[in-house]
């Protein structure tokens, strides 16, 4: 694979948001939930970073640590760079992450999917309702403590 770790991009984000981001190695950046929106907006709008393409959003249930991870895979189509992976950790009892649908429209359906299957809520999402399962269903099957009826 011709993938390289986007070191320069990570260094720039570290410098700009020293309070908000923490590199985890391997091209992964942990972002504080409260700062996710501004970091994401900067990544998208800064002409040197130009992360114009949100490839995927994934929820991971780390039940042992009592938290969910939301994982964002970001690329820049303009620079043909990436991936830069953002990870946000939220407590399992109160899983709320700001929605990025206003920054990348592609986030809209993916956040709905994560909400539907994992039960992580995205604050500020324009239309946060179930997408694959039916309205009125009360469980989130990708959670590790999911029990079939």
């Amino acid at each position: 694979m011709a993938e390289e770790e986007p070191r320069a991009d990570i260094a720039e984000l570290e410098e700009r948001f020293p309070e908000a981001v923490e590199p985890l190695g391997g091209g992964v950046l942990q972002v504080e939930t409260a700062h996710l929106l501004e970091v994401a907006k900067y990544m998208r709008e800064d002409p040197d970073l130009a992360f114009d393409y949100l490839s995927s959003i994934t929820g991971v249930d780390r039940i042992g640590e009592g938290r969910f991870e939301v994982v964002y895979h970001l690329y820049s189509m303009r620079r043909e760079a990436g991936p830069l992976v953002l990870k946000v950790f939220v407590p399992r009892e109160e899983p709320v992450v700001p929605s990025l649908a206003a920054i990348w429209s592609g986030a809209n359906v993916q956040e709905r999917e994560v909400y539907d299957l994992m039960g992580i809520r995205f604050s500020g999402h324009p239309n946060l309702k179930r997408i694959l399962l039916w309205e009125g269903y009360d469980k989130h099957p990708l959670r590790k403590d999911f029990q079939e009826d």
Binding site: A2, Y53, V60, H73, W104, R130, L142
Partner: protein, 370 residues
């Protein structure tokens, strides 16, 4: 009667879940003003079987037959994406010969996908079953090759992490050369039938326009994105596997309408033909599978493997806890995400155009709903 007192109101029209143009079970709620689409809400999930949860229940090897059940037109590329993710997770090296075989299979699969997609687009437009019959006939030749190599025509279970399940059978190369040799003529013939056909052009040119910045904003990939003029092809950008060794062009078209997506697919069939010819010519000898331990346990961590599948970026995100099963398996499905841009493409066009627009995105519901 005073014309100013006439009032109009929008009406709601349900298309699907059972409708031939959806090629599966897919539901669209249209808001119409006369015949014009004001808004569209896609409703998906009718084929949902929680594929990702199933993935957590199998070992890495046991999961191998399942990717081809996602987008059942493109089994080979699905398996390739999964294999790539596992290899990245575990740091596996794939033997040369296996890389070539994978490339041959993946590109043959792209050719199959595009001819099926074009054929069914014509079906949707009302050219009932004549064009698609030509396409399916051509597709059968490729499926014969897949059957020779894997024993199956659709659910291959052939590309595995570490290589491919078994070496090519005797006679495969010459059979493949013959099939690939028949493609340029076939594509020319298809173009003669369609590209300048007055009705086809009238139904597709200027329809369902997706501007390039909107396409990127909606995370669109594949022919849908390149039809809007964005030259983004993961085979080129990541040059995964051995794509850097082959000559091929990244095809784009400027207008972002249904016709240009069709033209991108036509041209991509030709480019894939080029790649397969080169790979068949250079195929090295050697093993087709890496040495793997009996119990396969990738180290704890995560990896994202992605490929340029025929429909766009197909990615598998795997999280390992060091056990023999994935802790989390996520499918980044191009059909699902490209479909997110359907409302943008449909607004302002007429109801019959919708059928063409949907067909031009090229979705498989098995992959949308997972």
């Amino acid at each position: 009667m005073d014309a100013a007192k006439l009032k109009t109101e929008t009406i709601t029209l349900n298309v699907g879940p059972q409708h031939p143009s959806t090629h599966g079970v897919f539901h669209m709620i249209l808001t119409l003003e006369g015949e014009t689409i004001v808004d569209l809400e896609p409703v998906v999930g009718y084929l949902h079987r929680n594929h990702e949860k199933l993935g957590e229940g199998f070992t890495y090897l046991q999961y191998c037959p399942y990717p081809s059940r996602l987008d059942y037109i493109c089994g080979m590329t699905n398996e390739h994406a999964y294999a790539l993710a596992v290899e990245k997770l575990a740091g596996l090296q794939v033997p040369e010969r296996a890389e070539y075989i994978r490339t041959i299979m993946a590109e043959l699969n792209r050719m199959v996908n595009h001819i099926v997609s074009i054929g069914f687009l014509l079906n949707d437009l009302g050219a009932f079953f004549t064009p698609v019959l030509y396409c399916l006939k051509q597709r059968e030749k490729v499926l014969d090759l897949f059957e020779m190599a894997s024993g199956s025509r659709m659910m291959f279970n052939y590309i595995r992490y570490g290589g491919v399940a078994r070496d090519l059978p005797e006679g495969f190369i010459s059979a493949a050369q013959e099939v690939v040799g028949s493609f340029p003529g076939f594509v020319d013939e298809l173009e003669q039938l369609l590209t300048e056909n007055e009705i086809f052009v009238a139904r597709t040119k200027g329809i369902g326009i997706l501007p390039p910045d909107v396409a990127v904003d909606y995370s669109c990939t594949g022919p849908l994105l390149r039809g809007s003029g964005v030259p983004y092809d993961i085979r080129r950008v990541d040059s995964y596997s051995i794509y850097s060794r082959f000559d091929f062009d990244v095809v784009t078209r400027p207008n972002g309408d249904v016709f240009d997506r069709y033209m991108v697919r036509i041209e991509e069939i030709r480019q894939s033909t080029r790649i397969v010819e080169q790979a068949l010519g250079e195929l090295p000898e050697g093993p087709v599978m890496a040495e793997l331990p009996r119990t396969f346990r990738p180290p704890a961590g995560d990896a994202y493997g992605r490929i340029e599948a025929p429909k766009g970026e197909l990615g598998f995100y795997l999280v390992s806890d060091g056990g023999d099963k994935p802790y989390r398996l996520k499918v980044r499905s191009p059909s699902f995400i490209n479909l997110g841009a359907l409302p943008v493409m449909a607004r302002g066009y007429k109801v019959p155009d919708l059928v063409a627009i949907l067909g031009s995105i090229d979705i498989t519901l098995g992959e949308v709903d997972r």
